[in-house]
């Protein structure tokens, strides 16, 4: 049999294409790296991580991690990371709660509740998150009255100095005590939670809708009330579909928390930007940011994989 010419041999062609693509990529990467080295040398910089130990010199508005301006850049970035984790943690819990309620409400028998839930989801999903965040911060939270005229809600007191939960008292014209959230954190949480909950509501709705109607009817014929049906029969089955959707929404939330820089909350990205300004170490800071955010995504994915295994229905 005559040998196949090389341009019709799919195996050889495959190797050739890979070789060409690989060579092309190598050339491009080499070019970029050589330009990088040239420009860095010209500017007198060198890629290193030693600067992380130098004192930062700037203050951070609010930190859970104890930090003062004489601590190192590394500690400043760690403080920023803790702030991000705080927002992401609280945000995940609150948005899941609100999202589940909104998603379940869209199946309610009460048309008002149904309509409210649908309107909420449709309105919030189609407005960009950054616009919502700046709206909450600049148009709502920054216009709060001063402490001695604070807005009183059950268990909550809103003033220009912050949002106070659980019992703060007025002392000398200032509010003290209770658990205080700064305006920036409060606005960030409000915007993020409302936005993410809308998407989570859609996921929950899709999950509940995937449960066959027969399950609802069987439960009703057994005498179960709607709420009990939801809790005992539908949700366990719906979770199978909901959990992967939740995974991607949680990762979105973690990434969206970086928008805090626009409203003055010192999360990881904001502190990283300050660090960049003070040290000029653009490449290192960028790589650090990418590694941390990818790591955060990985953690969330691993967590949700574990949850998925928990809720996995064991088929007979």
């Amino acid at each position: 049999m005559t040998a196949l010419p090389w341009w019709r041999d799919s195996r050889k062609l495959g190797w050739l294409v890979q070789a060409a693509v690989g060579l092309g990529l190598l050339v491009v990467v080499a070019l970029l790296l050589s330009n990088l080295e040239q420009n860095l040398t010209r500017a007198g910089l060198r890629l290193t991580l030693g600067w992380l130990n130098q004192p930062a010199g700037f203050d951070i508005a609010e930190t859970l991690l104890p930090y003062k301006a004489s601590d190192s850049y590394g500690r400043a970035l760690a403080a920023g990371l803790v702030n991000t984790l705080r927002v992401v943690g609280i945000g995940l819990v609150l948005s899941t709660a609100l999202g589940v309620v909104a998603g379940a409400a869209s199946f309610s028998t009460n048309p008002l509740l149904r309509g409210l839930s649908r309107t909420y989801v449709e309105v919030v999903r189609n407005i960009p998150l950054l616009l919502q965040l700046v709206f909450w911060y600049f148009a709502v939270f920054l216009t709060l009255p001063p402490a001695n005229q604070a807005v009183q809600l059950p268990g909550l007191q809103l003033a220009k100095s912050g949002v106070y939960l659980l019992g703060a008292r007025l002392v000398n014209g200032e509010l003290v005590g209770g658990w205080r959230l700064s305006l920036e954190l409060a606005a960030l949480l409000t915007g993020l939670v409302i936005y993410s909950a809308a998407f989570i509501a859609e996921v929950v709705r899709g999950g509940i809708a995937s449960v066959p109607r027969g399950q609802w009817e069987a439960a009703e014929s057994l005498g179960l009330k709607p709420l009990a049906t939801l809790r005992l029969v539908v949700l366990p089955q719906a979770l199978r579909v909901i959990v992967p959707g939740l995974n991607s929404q949680y990762i979105s939330l973690a990434k969206n928390s970086s928008l805090a820089v626009a409203i003055g909350y010192p999360d990881l990205y904001a502190v990283a930007e300050t660090t960049l300004n003070q040290t000029g170490r653009g490449i290192e800071v960028f790589l650090l940011l990418m590694v941390v955010y990818l790591g955060l995504d990985l953690c969330i994915s691993l967590l949700m994989n574990g949850v998925e295994r928990l809720v996995h229905l064991k088929d007979r």
Partner: protein, 404 residues
Amino acid sequence: MSRLSLQRWRRQLFGSVPDTVLSLGLGALMAWAAWGFLHWAFGQAQWLVVRANAATLAIGRYPEAQEWRLWLLLGMLVSLTGLSWGLLRGRGGAAAPGWPLNDRIAAALLGLLTLGLPPLLAFGAINQGRLLCLLGLLLLLRTLAGRWGNHPWGQRLAKGWPLVWAGAYLLGLWLIGGGLGLTPVRPSDWGGLLFTLLITSLTLLLALPLGVLLALGRRSELPLLRWVSVAYIEVIRGAPLITLLFLGQNLVGFLLPGGLAPDRVWRAAAVLTGFAAAYVAEAVRGGLNAVPRGQLEASRSLGLSTAQTLALVVLPQALKVALPALVGQCIALLQDTTLLSIIGLFDLLGIARSVLANPDWLGRYAEVYLVLAVLYWGSCAALSLGSRALEQRLSSNNLRPSHR
């Protein structure tokens, strides 16, 4: 409403005590919120900021002397829209003549907007006249195209119509940017709604082919292509967009020779394209997975090469299935353009924030942001409505997207 549905409503709202309480409570809440909003909108809000800055919000710092080009662009877009609308409707032939109900509602709404909005926004009489002329042009062309849509050369025109839009897009870019006879207008002077729409459309057009290539690469049997595609998609999808924009703005200059640094707008557009391509790749992957393996094998047995298989058999089916997800990505991209304001570019949100930074308009955040919210919501809701209509039309097929 028939008596039966009225009874059903009453039963659902007030059937049991908890239901009644809930309905009354929600009703009261909604009424209070609506009254509060109306009281604010017509009483306390100062809408002058929107009137005074309408032009800035629409086109940014575009030089006034060159505004005629934007009017020309608008005229061109309106004409093409009218013709397309007419051609689409006219394809039904004699069986669907005239103006169906939806078209009449749309025309009435457009008329209302054109007559009502410009005076509110304090457009001059000339501009109001121009807008009315454009509306007339739209409706005229729609009628003409509808009447001749079934004509033989109307149908020939319809076949080549996508090319006409492509040519018009390039013409529009030339009109906006200048060069080759027109005074060049720098990208940093483009702003507002014009800039947002331009960046969104440009990024989408560039990201679609790139995303399709990445999706194909991810499914390829060649390990290098697969690993490179997977690495790219996973890294991009794991990073927040703001970090990537930061890379584009600050570090691209380091990566290019001799300090060559394209305009910030192009750098941001390149980053957005790369970002969107990764997500488009995921959407297309769902579509590709939905195409049954039998299609591939059948086309192979017919002797089609890989390229022909892809182009003629697999991709058309895959893209049709992935279309709703792709439109979702389009909506996400429109929303992501707001992040350009964080790096200092003047998209719609950026120019709104710079207007609000002017001490003359101190504190008028709610008014401006509300207008912006309505604009964004309108665009995104229109896109998602269109997507749902497309989904319904395509649901006749049995293919569903899957992510194996």
